[in-house]
Amino acid sequence: MQNLDATIGYGRFILSGALATVELTIFSCALALLMAFLAGLALLSRSYSIRAVARIYVEFFRGTSIFVQLFAAYFVLPLVGISLTPVQAGVLAIGLNGGAYGSEVVRAGIQAVGRDQTEASIALNLTRWQAMWWVILPQAVVVMLPSFGNLAIEIMKATAVASLVTVSELTFQAQMVRSQTGETAIPFLLILVTYLVIASVLTALVRLLERRFSRGTAGA
């Protein structure tokens, strides 16, 4: 029975990492959402320089791997005087990376709203921001949600990489157990199942939002 006790013991230890994984996912998703809307709107800006800055941000973060960005945030930023804790470096790298992918979703979503909507807003004498906030975005968000759901799962999966800069989330805890007890199968199966559960919760959450936001639109 001692074996079982040991298993339960390190099982608890591993699951304590789930909290860090969820935390990292939520903060990174929040940063990614913010950056996605900022950069997505900037990509559609009338000013050439704003568009150029947004384009450089998007291409840079999509062009280099999340892995390299994380290591740059953790090992290179301190050299220019910005010291981050492992969690901060993780959120920064994963959030900015997710935001770059998300900005294209925002741009495509806004462009998918028919031109007639913009023209009707102009005819009603709405300002550009009123038109965007009250007319375009509410319709665009419905189009964006499924892609955002996929992005949230990608971000959740990317948090595993943060274990390599010593954030003590699920994968890190499992590696600790492996190096100290030599157990491999149970720790890794346990975290695989936990990741699946988190992903399923995320998917269900996005489905809920999709239903909420598509209320009152055609086809719902």
């Binding site: 291409e59 840079f60 999509r62 062009g63 280099t64 791997s65 999340i66 892995f67 390299v68 960005q69 290591f71 740059a72 090992f75 290179v76 050299l79 220019v80 799962i153 959740m156 999966k157 990317a158 948090t159 595993a160 990489v161 274990s163 390599l164 699920l170 994968t171 499992a174 590696q175 492996r178 491999t184 199968a185 890794f188 975290i191 695989l192 990741y195 699946l196 992903a199 399923s200």
Partner: protein, 219 residues
């Protein structure tokens, strides 16, 4: 912060060696992802209900768990079951299998996007199943698949640094080894980032050209 060109010159041979390994991994795992993805897609469209369900559960399970954990699984757990894989083999299988679940969706969407009328017309013209596939369906289904498949190959290229976590000496592995040995992180990691950015931008431009070319032909 002091950038040293001497140090850059010193680590360049190791990084070039790593870049070769990275390219090699990308090519081999692309083949794995493209072939396995097709098998997954066929299984997901199988007329047998149980095959379809198993394929969907397997691909969704792989898609929703991190690649890093799958690599650890292949590299640390399989040896306990008597299957010993080299880091390179484990990396290629892991990366290929992970992206096969993505490519399978591309195949499926490509085939489903061929209008039903084409199938019906093929039947009306009394074509055999084989003729229907090779002469009617695939010529229409394959061109729209090429840009998304190309994007996944680029995505796989960008994921290769993760393989350094299971001791594959790819570009990132070599860079980290040099960084740890000399305790200088600035140059190796910056060079790796620049290298990836360069290759990604060039390959994205090539895919864009390909896409325009295909659109022209379709129009």
């Amino acid at each position: 912060m002091d950038w040293s060109w001497d140090f850059v010159a010193q680590i360049m041979p190791a990084l070039t060696q790593g870049l070769l390994v990275t390219v090699e991994i990308t090519l081999v795992s692309s083949v794995v992802a493209l072939v396995l993805g097709l098998l997954f897609a066929l299984a997901k469209m199988s007329p047998v209900g149980s095959v379809r369900r198993v394929a969907i559960i397997a691909t969704e399970g792989i898609r929703r768990t991190p690649l890093l954990v799958q690599l650890y699984f292949l590299f640390y757990v399989l040896p306990d079951l008597g299957i010993l894989l080299s880091p390179f083999t484990a990396g290629v299988i892991g990366l290929g299998l992970h992206y096969a679940t993505y490519t399978s969706e591309v195949y499926r969407a490509g085939i489903n996007n061929v209008p039903v009328g084409q199938w019906e017309a093929a039947r009306a013209c009394n074509l055999t199943t084989r003729q229907t596939w090779t002469e009617i369906i695939l010529p229409q289904a394959i061109p729209p698949m090429i840009p998304p498949l190309g994007n996944y190959v680029i995505a796989m290229f960008k994921e290769t640094p993760i393989l350094s976590a299971i001791t594959v000496m790819d570009l990132m592995g070599e860079a980290l080894a040099q960084a740890n040995f000399n305790y200088r992180y600035l140059e190796p990691i910056t060079l790796v980032a620049a290298g990836f950015l360069l290759v990604s931008l060039i390959s994205a431009a090539i895919i864009k050209l390909l896409e325009n070319h295909l659109n022209l032909r379709a129009a």
